[in-house]
């Protein structure tokens, strides 16, 4: 079942259209930067964006910073929100269940294909951005070393390691989103509602993060530590934000996947 889900996810045109759309904004940004040479002033705008003007190879990180606040979570919410609700809507859920696929197994297969989608999306964004950065923005330093966010110099090997860790971190953040969307997907029979519910939670979280009165809530909000991957490029690395981010997404994963499982395995399938 897991293999079947993976292949049908990869074969579905929708998967690739979503990923292509995800890559459109970084591409536009890269072209604009290359043409105008006007970056945001250091410390403003998306992370790494001012740095890429001097070094195009940093563009994968900048691209992640661009898609992370909205595009990537929306894409994940759409795909994960459709996982069960989409089958219900098409009337295929009942035929899968009587074929018979166990409800837990179906949910696990859907989770696996969602994780694969998140990984794929993050990797494609990173690779596409690397190519765009090299081609459009060029690389600055022939020695290959890079200036860290703290101002010291990072070797190319260090840079690659940290980038891989950052990609992993972003993936985990998106899995939290996927878990929320998967839960909604077991509740409603419309994939769009499940995705919108998830996006509403994320936007609500972002709004509360900007509100001083919500101070006590902020450490628990799902989007609180998303941008902590930037801390991986300080010298030395500042781990506390990253670790808290992993812990809080872990909690979201457990709670929402648990709720999705509890709901889906006990509910009447009336579609």
């Amino acid at each position: 079942m897991i293999r079947l889900e993976l292949t049908s996810m990869l074969r579905r045109p929708r998967t690739w259209v979503t990923i292509a759309m995800l890559n459109a904004l970084p591409l536009v940004v890269a072209i604009l930067l290359a043409v105008t040479d006007l970056g945001p002033r250091p410390g403003t705008g998306p992370p790494f964006l001012s740095a890429v003007l001097t070094d195009g190879t940093l563009f994968p990180l900048a691209a992640l910073g661009i898609v992370l606040p909205l595009f990537l979570p929306v894409a994940v919410a759409v795909i994960a929100g459709d996982a069960i609700a989409g089958e219900a809507q098409a009337g295929t859920l009942r035929y899968l269940l009587i074929s018979p696929v166990g409800r837990t197994r179906l949910l696990v297969a859907k989770l696996a294909s969602t994780i694969a989608f998140v990984l794929l999306a993050v990797l494609v964004v990173a690779v596409a951005a690397y190519v765009e950065g090299r081609v459009l923005l060029g690389s600055a330093d022939p020695s290959g070393s890079v200036t860290s966010v703290s101002g010291s110099t990072l070797s190319q090997a260090e840079m690659i390691q940290r980038t891989v860790v950052a990609l992993g971190y972003v993936t985990v953040m998106m899995l939290g989103v996927a878990a929320i969307a998967l839960f909604f997907s077991t509740v409603t029979e419309s994939g769009v509602s499940a995705a919108l519910g998830t996006v509403a939670i994320l936007i609500g979280s972002t709004v509360l993060l900007g509100l001083d009165a919500a101070d006590v809530l902020q450490p628990y909000l799902p989007t609180r530590y998303w941008l902590a991957f930037v801390d991986l490029f300080r010298d030395p690395i500042r781990w506390d934000g990253v670790l808290r981010g992993l812990a809080s997404q872990g909690a979201y994963l457990v709670v929402f996947l648990g709720a999705a499982w509890a709901n889906f395995t006990t509910k009447d399938i009336n579609t």
């Binding site: 009587i98 166990g102 399938i269």
Partner: protein, 300 residues
Amino acid sequence: MIRTRGLTKRYGALTAVDGLDLDVREGDVYGFLGANGSGKTTTVRMLLGLVLATSGEIELVGRPMPASRASALPHVGALVEGPGAYGHLSGRANLATFDRAASATSRRVRSRRIAETLDQVGLDPSDRRPVRTYSLGMRQRLGLASALLRRPALLVLDEPTNGLDPQGIREIRELLLALNAQGTTIFLSSHLLAEIEQMCTRVGVLDRGRMVLQDDVASLVAPTGRVAVHTPTPEWAAEVLGARVEDVSGPRLVVVSDDAAGVNAELVGAGLRVDEIGPLRVSLEDVVLRASTEHAGARA
């Protein structure tokens, strides 16, 4: 093949299915009749473990449901409230998906069986168009194909001929009867009495969630020991037949007799002309309507 005891489903205050005792035996073509909203689909969903019963027990192909769904369902093919398919895939690919989801058939066997089954239900196995472009009847046929694909011992079909043209209805009826002759037990729900009467060996009638009748069709519509006569001169015929005449209405007489040919000879011998004569049968429709109104009366 299917046996339920006290099967009940409540949706809040509404009791959709109420204390149902179904009994479908091996080799039956069982017709499950009932008006719109009487609980047929709800029952089918409970049988297949999609909807969880409020109370009662279900045994499907000899195994308790929904506890043994993993071992029972591979022997069951089903169509529940219309077909369901992935619109972006072809008919073939749809069947392959459902088959792959649950069984480990080899690719060659699967592809041969899919082609055979599509052909059986009257779809072109070489059609590569996505199901999105299929007509209503084509989708219904595809749904039937997916129920038949694994040659199940029991077919549970909810309104199988929905959306089919008269020709299609006939083809499907013949296909199902042929499968039954090869040993497949068939449970089909419908509100089309004529369809049930033509196919089924047993019927169960549902009225607002309650079973009001469950019996063999042959005994329900058994000869009544009456002969119906149509003649242009009913008064004269009544004179000839005397006390045996039970009822006269217009040109039609009901005569107490097991022997239509004898009655005919008598009338013709007396010089009468007969338009039509034959043993009187009750239609399934009469039986079902009577059972439902009796039930409504008992309730009131």
